[in-house]
């Protein structure tokens, strides 16, 4: 059984048995409000908004990973390809009930894309018509942060960013994820 099918099965099972469900509109509206508020607070400085969303996601990811591990009971992934399947088929499945397509691997297996056919965060959303949001705001940027925070906690330093978004009029919503390095055996500086 391939790691992708195995991951699908785990995700499916967890979604059915272990996940408390919440009204989708609540999620969409809450997230939408946060982004809209940030846009207001930062006075339409969308680069800053992207940065803040990423940071918020990072803090979520660092916490969420424990829930993911406690619920899924999965072990360490043998390689980055397996990690990608875990993220898509288990992670996104249990937290957003979607499974973005893993694709566009580089030959060194260190970079892949997640293609989002659906994105619950962005339902009903139309970007502001100020001529800049369409080019500057990555509405779902919080997801990049979540991945970075979560993977950092399991000893992987990654970089994630959106390269296209249907909200901007692109054909697909695509996130690019790159493995920077495996953080070596944690022998942290404990002399505090």
């Amino acid at each position: 059984m391939s790691s992708a099918t195995k991951a699908s099965r785990i995700g499916e099972e967890l979604w059915k048995t272990r996940v408390d469900k919440v009204n989708a509109e609540l999620v969409t509206l809450t997230y939408g409000t946060i982004v809209a508020q940030l846009c207001q607070d930062y006075d339409g400085n969308y680069h800053e908004v992207n940065k803040q969303l990423e940071k918020m996601g990072y803090n979520i990811g660092m916490r969420l990973i424990e829930d993911f591990l406690a619920k899924s009971n999965v072990g360490r992934c043998a390689n980055f390809r397996e990690t990608a399947d875990m993220i898509s088929k288990v992670g996104f499945r249990i937290f957003l009930n979607i499974a973005p397509t893993v694709t566009n691997w580089t030959s060194d297996n260190n970079q892949f894309s997640l293609i989002f056919d659906e994105n619950p965060l962005a339902d009903f959303v139309e970007l502001p018509d100020d001529g800049r949001a369409q080019d500057e705001l990555w509405f779902s940027n919080i997801l990049c942060g979540v991945l970075r925070g979560a993977l950092e906690m399991v000893q992987m330093q990654i970089e994630a960013h959106f390269v296209s978004d249907v909200l901007r009029g692109d054909d697909t919503t695509e996130m690019r994820v790159s493995l920077v390095r495996y953080i070596e055996d944690e022998m942290p500086p404990d002399e505090e």
């Binding site: 916490r63 990973i65 619920k71 009971n73 360490r76 043998a78 944690e186 942290p188 404990d190």
Partner: protein, 185 residues
Amino acid sequence: MAVFSLIIINKAGGLVYQREFQPGLRKLSTNDYLVLAGTFHGVHAITRSITPKLPLAAIPNPPITPTTATTPSPNIASPSSTSTPTPSSSSASAGGYTYPNPGVPATGLESLETDKFRLTCFQTLTGTKFLLFTEPTMANIDVVMKKIYELYADFVMKNPFYQLEMPVRCEAFDRNLQGWLRGRA
């Protein structure tokens, strides 16, 4: 009811949580608990690093032989080139040995048993360690451990005001943990 106490150690070896679940257990001083956590953290790391490694079968031998053959000559030739042989020889020795089951990463100490108690250690993939002190006869410790991890994920990690890696002072975690352990008894 056979769970004596629980200790949680963060990934840096710091004590973040300690509770007894039996009335009247003799307590150590706060400092002793801190020392215990730090010491266990060290011992755990040592037990992982001393995991015996088996020599690889004949396959990697051919690449190693030429390396070792070339190593002596630059060593003698010039001291400036000593930096080159060092990594090559170390990579040769690293490539020459492997864990018994290479797919499974080496873990550290998992349990420690005496006549009077058993210490079970569960390390999460994020590096946090849960130490559970139980009666040596207690069964299904993994079930208890899993539940504790879930409660931790819920009531500690999802509490937005809990600061990561800091001591756990979450009343709801205490309550649920005690409630669940009592319910099991």
